[in-house]
Point group: D2
C-alpha cells in the first residue's frame, strides 16, 4: 500500500496578506491554497495551461476551511497538500497551512475539485495520464 504524496509550498506573510486586525486576512488562505495547487501541478511536470490544451480544467466546487490560529507579518508559512480522494470526475484535497517554524496548524482546508472538459464545461472522467503523475507512482 502506497503512502500519499505530500506536496509542499512555502511563502512568507507580507503586508499584502494581512488586514487591520494585524493578522492574515481570512480569504488569503484560499489564495495560498490555489497557488499551492498550481505548484503541485508543476511538481508533476504539468500546468493549468497544459491541462487546458488537453481540453480539461479543474474547478473548485466546494471548500471547507477551519481557521485555527492566526498568522502575523513576516511569519514563514508552509502549506501541505495531499490528494485525499481520487474519484472518477472529482479530486478531494486536504490542504493544511502551518507556521513553518513552530509547526502550529493555522488553517485546514478540504477542497473538492471537479474535472471539466473545457468547451461545454461538463464533468468528465479525470484522464488516465494524470493519475500516475498526481499519485506520484511514476517516481
Amino acid at each position: 500500500m502506497s503512502e500519499l504524496r505530500v506536496f509542499e509550498w512555502n511563502t512568507i506573510v507580507d503586508f499584502a496578506d494581512t488586514d487591520a486586525g494585524g493578522v492574515v486576512y481570512y480569504a488569503r488562505y484560499l489564495e495560498w491554497a490555489e497557488r499551492a495547487r498550481a505548484s503541485l501541478l508543476r511538481d508533476c511536470d504539468l500546468s493549468n495551461q497544459q491541462l487546458w490544451q488537453q481540453g480539461i480544467m479543474f474547478v473548485v466546487t466546494r471548500a471547507e476551511i477551519d481557521f485555527k490560529q492566526s498568522a502575523k507579518l513576516d511569519d514563514p508559512i508552509k502549506l501541505e497538500t495531499i490528494i485525499a480522494k481520487f474519484r472518477s470526475v472529482r479530486l478531494i484535497l486536504n490542504q493544511n497551512i502551518y507556521h513553518r517554524n513552530n509547526q502550529n496548524l493555522l488553517c485546514s482546508c478540504v477542497i473538492t475539485l471537479a474535472c471539466l472538459e473545457n468547451k461545454q464545461q461538463k464533468p468528465i472522467k479525470i484522464p488516465r495520464f494524470l493519475s500516475p503523475r498526481l499519485r506520484g507512482k511514476q517516481e
Copy 2:
C-alpha cells in the same frame, strides 16, 4: 414566531474580481461575504470599530462554500445574509450570492463566527445589547 431578517448587499463584477478563466476568482466570494457582514453591522447601527471599543470582536472560525455557477465581468451581484443560528458564543450565518438579474444562485456560504473579548482573544458570550439589533426585533 418571527421570520429571520435578510440583509442584502450588492456589488458589480469588475476586473479586480475576475481571473484568467474569465470568471470571478474563487477567493473573492469570501471577500464579498466579509463586506456583506460589515454592511450588516452598519444596517444595525454598529461597526467593527464600535464592537472593538466595547471590548469584543467576531472572528470567522469555519467557512463552508459551495461554488455552483460562475459570475462574469459586469454581472450585477446580490449577497443575502441570514443569521441562521444565534448561540451563546457563536453565530452561524448563511450567505448566499446571486446574479441580481436572473436570481441564479452562484455560491452559498455557511460562516461560523466566534465572539471573542479582544484583549486575551478568549471566547465570550455575545453581549445582550447585540441580540435585538442583529435579530431585528427593535424594528
Copy 3:
C-alpha cells in the same frame, strides 16, 4: 467653454482593504481606481464588455500615484474621476480619493489609458461615438 464632468464613485473601507499597518493597503487604491473607471463607463451607458464587442479596449499604460494620507477601517471614501486630456489614441484621467466626511485628499492618481483594437492589440483612435458620452456633451 464647457466644464469637465466629474464622475463620483463611493466605497467604505472594509478589512479586505486594509493591512497590518491598520490602514488601507497601498495597491488597493489602484483597484478602487479601476472600479471607479468601470462605474464611469456605466454612468455613460457603456461597459467594458460593450467596448470589447465594438472591437476596442482601454489599457492602463502609466499610473502616477501620490499617497498623501491614510484611510482606516470603516472610513467612507469618495473617488472623483475627471477626464483631464482627451487625445486621439489616449485618455489621461485624474482620479482623486477623498475621505467622504472631512473631504481630506488621501491619494491622487494620474492614469494614462491607451485605446487598442482588441484583435492585434494595436493602438487605434478613440471611436467618435465615445467622445460625446465621455465628455458628457449629450446631456
Copy 4:
C-alpha cells in the same frame, strides 16, 4: 565608485494574479513590488517588524508605474530592485519586472519611500545602521 546592489525576487503568475483580460491585473504589480521590498529587507538581515521595534517604518509616498507588456498565467517573473537614491529621509527605488525566461521588461516602477518614526508618524532621518546594509557595503 561602487555599483548599485541589485536585489532579485521571483514569482510565477497564478490565477490569483490575473484578470478576465487573461493577463496580470494591473494593481498586482504593486503588490509584487511590496513583497520584493520585504524580501530585500530579509536579504539585508532586516524585517519590517525589526524596523518597527527600532521605532521606524517606511511608507510609500509616491509610485510611478509604466506598464509595457502583459504577463500571462504560468509566466515566470523576476523583479529587480535597485536603491537608486539614498536621501536623508527618503529612498527612491527602481523596481523592474521581467519575464524571467525571455527577459522582456513588463513593468517598471519608481517608488518613493519616506522614513517615519512610528509614534507620531513624522519623517525622520534614515538611521545610520541601515545605510551600509541597504547599500551592501558590509559584504
